[in-house]
Symmetry: C2
Subunit: 335 residues, 2 copies
DNA sequence: CCTTAAAATGTAAGCGCTTACATTTCATGA
DNA sequence: TCATGAAATGTAAGCGCTTACATTTTAAGG
């Protein structure tokens, strides 16, 4: 079933069928109906490839993320997918895994699908040195590049993010104000927003004049989902240096700390206060519930798609949309 | 940059370039190198649409799932995506949401992308009455349909699943053997495998001669991720009927039950035994850790992709691959 | 060095669609 | 009724690629 068959059966030319298909222009209502009836009757669907070839677009967005089974990323992907779909776009998902040396390959791959835009989900797509980000510059020459929860200043690159610095700083201050000064800070290798959170934490510690807090800053390398391993990691730290507070850059890490505490009979929040980050579903999976920073994922995804749609339709759009994080207080903290 | 430009620069015909591109046939090594050098130099990537038009395939698989942020589905999608990618296929993800009346639309949508196959992730794609599954029959006339964790007997439809009936039956028996007979069974609307689990539970209860166990079978309708709501739901049940065991068809539901118990000072596992299902990361996010049934997701996804690849290359493949679930015993049970 | 068949390469016809431009149809006012 | 321009429709030229088939090159045997 091609456009030719339809045109023949409807007694019109292929151009007319094509016009009907594209909802375009001026087609007499009676003609339109005639064609649509035939299309309906034969359950015709246009060939996407041929279509893309003519249209140079298939209303498809490429979504790249490291690991769609990561709680935060999965949620982001879901929101994005829904939002795009609601706006008539489809998404190609591509999980890069955590080895991001080959980021460029994935971007090329997805570019070759002739997507209309690319969304990079998660801040680990942004490297620390300039050369590492070359691939973004190249890709942005072709189509808009959208960053969720990260920022990169370059033409045709747009981002949404949470003010992680401020949010983490606020979280740390809250704990410090409650008189807890020996705080274990747990983070993982998430580059861009990870750096900002860390800086926010440090700033708060300095502001409150805490000495030697760096001793208790630890990076857990490995998939954060492996909560059991995180707990072991925390156990090894606790053997060396005692602490009465934990602030984690991801909820998973916080849960690992809680787990270790409960394994050792440490009471939460009486003996140990814990703050996570992302306000994920994990916050309500432990007892007591986890205090956590909400980084406005839903707002971010919404804004990102709106920005993308704007850009695609030629509007001038904000390069960067920043949302304020918010500390959601629950049972793992006394304050 | 088209294949013409490359052919010109390399001093060969477009056919030769195309052959090099497709790794095909007989091209003299020297010629191949010459062409590849030019391709490399100009960073040429073939147009996917034009390619698909000729090849009638773009090595792309459509993945449909209700909600990629659901723990189980997210993990499945991730495994599938990785496995497909490792085999040179890409994936188009499409989240249908939980309103599955419109399943057919999504399948059509993804069919129009000319994917080589469709993977339906999660058993809620299979309806209970025949007509509801019509859309699968239609789609399977065009391309292979793969079902993860569900089954449907029809030509060109392949499935992998866990023997949920046996696994759930085993779980219930374990609890019954430990002397716990007042068991709350929590499930949600997940149709196909949900039915099997429920049947497995009932069978075990009958086999052990438990009377009136149906009173404690409850369906929680709503997104299982909303653990707080699940906990409230369980609370309302507990007010009516006491129980000393909980078996849940999803880990999320089990966590909700644990949460409610801990809110009320009920000790786990002394006063209450809990078994979940899926063996997800949630099992280690609570204290004590959650006993859960592993439904072999990773094996299933692996097998599913292998089967799909086999089918696509014309081999005869098993219509259905069944894996045995396994009860992973942890801290929420005494046995 | 010539024949011959195999190997390598080239030629050109699509694939199914969009769209600029050409042509026909239609409605309007004179 | 007829000219006239607008609206509707048709014609045909691509889009960038694959591939059957035609042609040329190569190498081996006589």
């Amino acid at each position: 079933m091609t456009i030719y068959d339809i045109s023949k059966k409807a007694g019109v030319s292929i151009a007319t069928v094509s016009r009907v298909l594209n909802g375009s222009d001026k087609v007499r209502p009676s003609t339109r109906k005639k064609v649509l009836d035939i299309i309906e009757k034969y359950e015709y669907t246009p060939n996407a490839f041929a279509r893309g070839m003519g249209l140079h677009s298939l209303k498809t967005i490429g979504i790249l993320c490291a690991d769609s089974s990561d709680l935060f990323l999965a949620k982001a992907v879901y929101f994005l997918e829904q939002e795009l779909q609601a706006n008539g776009y489809e998404s190609i998902l591509c999980c890069t895994g955590y080895n991001l040396d080959i980021k460029k390959n994935y971007v090329d791959l997805i570019l070759s699908k002739k997507v209309d835009g690319i969304i990079l989900v998660g801040s680990n797509f942004i490297g620390t040195d300039e050369e590492e980000n070359q691939y973004i510059k190249e890709a942005s020459a072709q189509i808009p590049i959208m960053l969720l929860n990260a920022a990169f200043d370059y033409p045709n690159v747009y981002s949404t993010l949470c003010d992680d610095y401020a949010a983490m700083s606020e979280a740390a201050s809250a704990m410090l104000n409650a008189g807890i000064r020996d705080i274990l800070y747990l983070y993982n290798s998430d580059s861009y927003s990870g750096q900002k959170k860390l800086k926010g934490f440090k700033a708060a510690m300095e502001r409150h004049g805490v000495d030697g807090y760096e001793k208790l800053i630890y990076c857990y390398d490995g998939p954060p989902q492996r909560v059991r391993d995180v707990a072991k990691f925390v156990e090894s730290i606790a053997r060396e240096t005692p602490f009465r507070g934990v602030i984690a850059a991801e909820d998973e890490l916080a849960i690992g700390a809680i787990k270790n505490a409960q394994n050792h009979g440490v009471r939460i929040p009486e003996d140990l206060s814990v703050i996570g980050y992302n306000n994920s579903m994990l916050t309500c999976c432990c007892t007591p519930e986890l205090t956590s920073v909400d980084n406005r994922l839903e707002s971010q995804t919404h804004q990102l798609v709106q920005t993308l749609l704007g850009v695609l339709s030629g509007e001038e759009m904000p390069k960067q949309s920043v949302f304020s994080g918010k500390l959601i207080k629950r049972g793992t903290t006394l304050f």
